[in-house]
């Protein structure tokens, strides 16, 4: 089948899955908690206050109606009001998501480049110094919890060395650049605001590196493994029998094949990056969607939790779709 049919099929599947996801989210927020309203208001709220909030949130209605309201709202992006910020949840999401996106993209860039380079070097110079270093680095990287890495980085680069700032996206008195995408690095570049760009860069390096650390390790390992695998294949022997230079064999014949499993891993790491974002944002006080959801959970602000979680699932699904499409583009065998 050609690539467009494939994309269409995957899109339809994605919509179905998202619907299921919405069901799960609803289930979590409305069915599990034994007494949500009291929990939200604290145990001692008077009855009439409880009744009022119930009506306000629509909790007095039968479950089906609640579900219907939720779904119909979700489709248009209306998740209700956040009890914490008093803004429409969608507005909060729009405010906070670009920060997370920027962090994640930066982290992916760092980790993909570093990871692939390390992985390829490791495979090509198997069992030599660079290979051992890279493997040790990888396996340690995958074992360190993100929040701990973040704290250690803070300890070193902020408290002890004072090279990099600790919290937030910009210094307290710096004004953010004009809002185009909401991502400070991009916006400041687009508006030529060099000072803000530098400041934003200084602030993003530490959390992005912290976030990407795990992914770098993961990508390096996969690239190494798949490269080693590819180098054993018969078509590599053919390439050598053709008398091609080693660099050509690796870059032209081996790399594209070995990237195929790596792309899958990058897709998977995107997911782990989103989770890691939650923790990293907490450690570095980064005002992103992860921190928003976390605080929503701690305060039992259901609307923001449901909206935020559904939104993240949506973004994650799109990322997976992109990965699948990339896969199909890279590997002609996948298009059937």
């Amino acid at each position: 089948m050609n690539i467009w049919t494939y994309i269409l099929k995957r899109l339809l599947l994605m919509i179905l899955v998202l619907f299921g996801v919405a069901c799960i989210v609803f289930f979590i927020a409305h069915v599990i908690p034994a007494d949500p309203i009291s929990a939200m208001l604290g145990g001692n709220a008077p009855d009439d206050v409880i009744k009022r909030v119930e009506a306000q949130l629509g909790y007095d209605q039968p479950l089906i109606i609640q579900f219907y309201n939720f779904i119909s709202g979700a489709i248009v992006g209306d998740f209700g009001l956040s009890l914490r910020t008093n803004n429409p949840v969608m507005q909060d999401i729009n405010n906070y998501f670009p920060a997370t996106l920027e962090l994640t993209i930066f982290a992916i860039l760092i980790s993909t480049i570093l990871g692939i380079v390390l992985g390829v070097l490791s495979a090509v110079h198997r069992n030599k110094m660079i290979d051992h270093f890279s493997r040790i680095f990888s396996i340690i990287g995958v074992s360190m919890p993100v929040f701990w890495t973040g704290l250690l980085l803070l300890l070193l680069f902020y408290y002890r060395l004072d090279w990099l700032p600790a919290a937030g996206r910009l210094e307290f008195f710096t004004l953010p650049p004009d809002h185009i995408t909401g991502m400070y690095l991009v916006d400041s570049l687009l508006t030529g605001n060099w000072e803000v760009f530098k400041d934003a860069l200084r602030h993003i390096i530490l959390p992005a590196f912290c976030l990407g650390f795990l992914a770098t390790a993961s990508i390096a390992r996969t690239t190494r493994a798949s490269m080693l695998d590819v180098l054993k294949q018969e078509y590599i022997t053919t390439a050598k029998a053709k008398g091609l230079k080693k660099k050509v064999v690796i870059n032209r014949h081996a790399l594209r094949n070995s990237l195929i499993p790596t792309i899958t891993i990058i897709g998977l790491t995107f997911g782990s990056l989103l989770e890691g974002a939650v923790l990293t944002e907490t450690v570095f006080s980064w005002p992103g969607l992860g921190r928003y959801i976390t605080q929503g959970l701690l305060f039992l602000d259901y609307n923001s939790v449901m909206g935020g979680t559904l939104y993240i699932a949506f973004v994650y699904s799109i990322a997976n779709l992109v990965v699948d499409i990339l896969y199909a583009v890279l590997d002609p065998r996948m298009r059937t």
């Binding site: 998202l18 929040f147 408290y159």
Partner: protein
């Protein structure tokens, strides 16, 4: 050639036999793999600490001693003390018990869920497979931590609920792998011949399909144990899992955050404990996976 027809052997021992054979072979290979050994040593130490924690330290994890608060690491307190004067090494040792609990229970529950779903989906195929796989996809559409956070928060943050929450999000890879194996085994000719001899579906699934799925799933189970600990620590760190004064390692790291500048040890050592144990599981899992590589086996 013997003329006797053998009745299909029933009974518990014969049901379990394929598992025993597989285990013997695996043990032999395990001994030859260095990485797995290092990992095993770490995990063995971990288990040892968890079991004998009270014997290894003179202190108690929850007794406060404010006159000794925030002391730097010394011979008295190898890892220092926290803001309530509690010995950190002692709390880490006791925290290992919590960690083990979490790992074991989550692995059992999510392994059970995952394998059941996977084997059923793979073996029966058709509409059952489609439905089960869509459900799996739905759970996979979330970043795992976020979903676990949501479950944990809604159920109420405490250790038990955290274990349930993590189990609910951890089963998906097991389902995938056991389904793939079930599909593969299902197509084998010997399955057909057994079925034609009158074996029930359940028997086929349990005796023949399941043993084949165990090896690859076992690798995953071990590989995921590290992830489980990290997820649990993350939840603890965020305040959505075990609650203070529990000596759960993630909670301990979070506790120490405010004192990071001058009393770095409060957060650093618990985190180090997490990293080492997870490293052990990863090494063990890697070693096992290398062993299971079909090219090296048999």
């Amino acid at each position: 050639m013997s003329e006797t027809t053998t009745k299909p052997k029933t009974g518990w021992f014969h049901l379990m036999k394929p598992y025993f054979e597989d285990m013997k072979h695996s043990l032999y290979l395990w001994r030859r793999n260095k990485l797995a050994i290092v990992g095993s040593i770490i995990i063995a130490a971990f288990l040892f600490i968890a079991i004998f924690a009270p014997l290894l330290t003179p202190y108690k994890p929850d007794i406060q001693n404010l006159s000794e608060k925030l002391l730097a690491p010394s011979s008295q307190h190898p890892f220092g003390t926290d803001q309530f004067g509690r010995d950190i090494l002692c709390r880490i040792l006791y925290g290992s018990r919590i960690a083990i609990q979490i790992v074991l229970i989550v692995t059992i529950i999510s392994g059970f869920i995952g394998i059941s779903i996977g084997v059923t989906a793979g073996y029966f195929g058709g509409i059952i497979d489609e439905i089960l796989m869509r459900i799996t996809d739905m759970f996979l559409a979330f970043p795992r931590l976020v979903l676990a956070m949501a479950f944990a928060a809604m159920l109420g943050p405490n250790l038990t609920n955290m274990i349930i929450a993590i189990s609910l999000v951890n089963w998906t890879p097991y389902a995938r792998i056991s389904r793939a194996e079930a599909l593969r085994v299902k197509g084998q000719p010997y399955i057909e011949s057994i079925r034609s001899m009158g074996a029930s579906n359940f028997r086929i699934m349990f005796s023949h399909v399941l043993p084949m799925t165990i090896s690859p799933v076992l690798v995953q189970l071990t590989l995921r144990m590290g992830t489980i600990i990290i997820t649990a620590a993350g939840l603890g760190f965020l305040g959505l899992g075990a609650q203070p004064p529990s000596p759960e390692w993630g909670v301990m790291v979070s506790d120490g955050r405010s004192y990071l500048i001058d009393q770095w040890w409060v957060s650093t050592f618990p985190g180090l404990a997490i990293a080492i144990v997870v490293l052990g599981f990863n090494l063990l899992g890697d070693g096992i996976r290398d062993m299971m590589d079909p090219r090296l086996r048999r």
